[in-house]
């Protein structure tokens, strides 16, 4: 045993390894990505770990392991659970033999996500238990408990951390070596493992009965606690509990109830914890989940307790909580002194806006710019997707008209084509996203005889989530060299023609590839191939000859590279940021920009 200072995601990984996990699979997605990476980093003989092609694949790989009696964990962000929901909903009916923990990381804010959906609702919808950690330390402990619960009740169990728990660091006491659990192996039994309406009917009844028992188990679970004894109580869940506890540490008499296992609701615990309470404030993020549970519980037992929270407007309906909102909301509820210790900051200069942008030298900028130039004056739709390249929407590029979910750019471009055949429909999709959920969309477009151009922005990595490998990179999570799955061959095989591969930084070639494809009927593809600048070491950089620069600022106005700025009416290049991609030099009307060695 030793103390390890790790991120919440690392704590979850250590929790799984400590529980003797046999298989871990997942797809990268902020804020969950580091779980798999941490499992891979520690010595884990006997534990199989992979980056799967998407969350559905991960869930199914893990389900088979659990059918074998092995302990399996699958990791994803909350929208990944939508992708994996098909296997999960059915798996909830079939059940498991070995423990199976589904980690679905929620993202209040949202900070790096499309939605503020609440995985606790998903757990209730799927009728499976969920653990909700309030800190990395608790997340570590919960993983072991979740495996035990999963095996006791033969059901997948969800662990639902949120961003601030995933990305918080703490010291965890954990073993230095790990031994994977022994498992029996798959025992064939088609009445058990093959889902049929009859089986679902029987198991549905069993599940509803079982969940009452789990709720009773949870009522004596150490993750649910109460301190203080005031008539007005605060109930908090997840990291919101940490914020509430931080504010209430000077008020130990205030009743503070923590719920670490939101579903099935620990009813007996709550009834006891709320004994003598007249009014309760639910301090939680995302949906008013506990608040609604309490309203039901209070109705069921005819209790005289006033419930406040999101539904009464006391807690904001969206966005994340923090220590400041905890202080404001809880002090108002308890009629305590809310004056913080803030300094007077009037007259402070307004800080500039800093929207996230494509990195200096990012090849996606060149790809977008090439399409923009080729389509100048033509009617075109640009359907984006999930990844760094969503940032192509920012001015001055303004090249992302839609972004919905993983893979949707391909199928939406097809939809636009059917509704407006005169316009040129483009889809922009990254290499990792292409494998995750782009291929089926391309098949759909070919099958339904669409006219559109698929632009694969192939930077040889999953950049946005921290540079994970994918099937096209020729190596997997364990850095084992594997056969590269060729995007070009996949596209050719499903009937896309032509498939043109081009270096986006070769601007003229890239523009002519786009023009060529725009003149052809059918589904065409351009693979813009250039590695992510964050994983390559630049050797050159660009420099503006200030004597030659005429101050037209075309370089800045056209491409919006963060390395370019204006000084004294002329363009200047930040030599630390510049990677020497040379895109700006290609636009300069007076050839004032040239390359020098870094």
């Amino acid at each position: 045993m030793s103390k390890k200072y790790v991120m919440g995601n690392g704590a979850i990984a250590l929790g799984a390894l400590s529980a003797g996990v046999n298989l871990v699979a997942g797809y990268p997605g902020t804020p969950s990505s580091e779980i798999i990476e941490t499992v891979a980093k520690y010595p884990h003989e006997g534990t199989y770990v992979e980056w799967s092609v998407n969350e559905k694949a991960a869930m199914e790989v893990a389900a088979a392991a659990a059918y074998c009696g092995a302990r399996a964990m699958v990791t994803m962000k909350q929208v990944g659970l939508n992708v994996a929901s098909d296997p999960l909903m059915s798996l909830a009916y079939v059940g498991v033999k070995g423990g199976m923990v589904v980690v679905s990381a929620d993202d209040p804010g949202p900070i790096s996500s499309q939605t503020e959906q609440d995985t606790r609702r998903f757990a209730e919808f799927a009728r499976i238990p969920v653990f909700d950690p309030s800190s990395p330390e608790e997340a570590f402990e919960m993983v072991g408990e979740a495996f035990a619960c999963s095996e006791k009740y033969k059901t997948p169990v969800i662990l639902r951390p949120t961003t601030r728990v995933d990305h918080a660091y703490a010291s965890i006491d954990a073993p230095d070596t790990f031994t994977a659990k022994e498992y029996e192996g798959f025992v064939k039994d088609s009445k058990k493992w093959v889902i049929f309406p009859r089986l679902s009917f029987q198991n549905h009844a069993m599940i509803e009965k079982r969940n009452v028992a789990i709720g009773e188990d949870f009522s004596s679970c150490r993750f649910n606690s109460v301190s203080g004894s005031s008539e007005k109580a605060v109930i908090a869940t997840g990291v919101s509990y940490a914020y509430a506890a931080e504010y209430l540490k000077d008020y130990p008499e205030i009743r503070l109830i923590k719920i670490g296992t939101p579903y099935p609701l620990p009813e007996s615990f709550l009834l006891k914890a709320m004994d003598g309470v007249s009014e309760v404030l639910c301090f939680e993020e995302l949906s008013p989940y506990i608040e609604e549970c309490l309203l039901k519980l209070i109705g069921k037992h005819h209790l005289d307790i006033n419930v406040r929270g999101k539904l009464t407007g006391d807690v904001a309906p969206s966005g994340e909580n923090d220590t400041d909102s905890a202080r404001r909301i809880i002090s108002r509820f308890l009629e305590l002194d809310a004056s913080g210790n803030s300094s007077d900051l009037s007259g402070a200069p307004q800080p500039p806006m800093r929207p996230p942008v494509l990195c200096a030298g990012c090849p996606h900028r060149a790809s977008f710019y090439a399409v923009k130039r080729a389509m100048k004056g033509k009617k075109a739709y640009f359907c984006g997707d999930i990844g760094c390249y969503t940032l192509g929407n920012a001015m001055p590029l303004d090249m992302v008209d839609t972004c919905l979910c993983m893979g949707a750019g391909v199928t939406m471009a097809q939809g636009f084509n059917h509704m407006d055949p005169d316009a040129v429909a483009f889809s922009f999709i990254g290499d990792s996203t292409f494998f995750a959920s782009g291929v089926t969309g391309v098949v759909n477009a070919v099958y339904n005889a669409a006219d559109m151009i698929v632009c694969v922005l192939d930077n040889s990595t999953t950049a946005m989530t921290g540079h994970q490998p994918h099937p096209g990179t020729g190596r997997n999570l364990m850095a084992t060299p594997v056969e590269k799955v060729s995007i070009e061959k996949v596209l050719l095989a499903v009937g896309v023609k032509p498939v043109i591969t081009v270096d986006p930084l070769d601007l003229d070639a890239a523009i002519s590839a786009v023009k060529e494809c725009a003149g052809i009927k059918g589904v065409k593809a351009i693979i813009f191939q250039s590695p992510c600048v964050a994983i390559t070491k630049p050797t050159d950089r660009m420099n503006v000859g200030s004597d030659q620069c005429i101050g037209c600022l075309r370089c800045i106005k056209e491409i919006g590279c963060p390395a370019l700025s204006v000084s004294g009416g002329k363009a200047v290049i930040d030599e630390n940021l510049c990677t020497g991609c040379g895109l700006c030099a290609k636009l300069c009307p007076v050839k004032a920009i040239g390359g020098v060695q870094k």
Partner: protein, 195 residues
């Protein structure tokens, strides 16, 4: 020890390494430590913060408003953006070199000078210059460790020099260690000059 340290800057400036070094050093000295980072989309050129909380009674991973003993700002306007986190008698170490936002226009006027003047008028602060500090090392990438040196030298960090040096040799890749240790020393001189 009980200390809340906030580090802020712009994505790509290396704030995460600075917070990791502080957290690991404080742990090494026997403290309970919690910290939190900005990770994900915001890292791409957006404002980033690290919260490092040293001491037993830190429940939240985030420092409360007006709770930070020390604010280390890698950029003038980011110091202003996060100034509400500083305690009334807290200390600020700020880099005077601005990072201009990428957006078209509007950024031309921003040079960080008004921000530095405001900070000087409002709180106790040490203004450092990343260009000057990093010139001997050939890259502004060493600023994160240099500014840590300034915090260490000023005495505001409350950590021992030997602990921080040991941490750097543990967590920084070997080929960068020498320059990082030199950057720490350079920063310490600036910080000590304050005493």
């Amino acid at each position: 020890m009980k200390k809340d340290v906030m580090i802020c800057g712009v994505g790509g400036q290396g704030t995460v390494l600075a917070s990791k070094i502080i957290a690991a050093s404080a742990t090494d000295e026997g403290n309970a430590v919690h910290s939190a980072e900005t990770i994900g989309m915001a890292q791409r050129g957006g404002p980033v913060t690290s919260h490092v909380r040293i001491g037993e009674d830190a429940f939240s991973p985030l420092i409360p408003i007006a709770g930070a003993d020390l604010l280390i700002a890698f950029e003038p306007s980011e110091a202003i953006r996060n100034l509400r986190y500083l305690k009334k008698d807290g200390f600020v170490i700020v880099n005077r070199v601005p990072v201009k936002p990428t957006s078209l226009g509007g950024s031309e006027g921003y040079d960080g000078k008004a921000e530095i003047a405001y900070l000087r008028s409002k709180c106790q602060c040490l203004v450092v210059d990343s260009d000057e500090l990093c010139a001997p090392f050939g890259s502004s990438k060493f600023f994160n460790v240099a500014v840590l040196g300034a915090a260490l030298g000023s005495g505001e960090l409350g950590l021992k020099e030997e602990t921080v040096r040991r941490t750097i040799t543990k967590i920084v890749p070997k080929r960068f260690q020498e320059k990082n240790l030199a950057a720490l020393t350079a920063g310490m001189k600036i910080g000590e000059g304050l005493l």
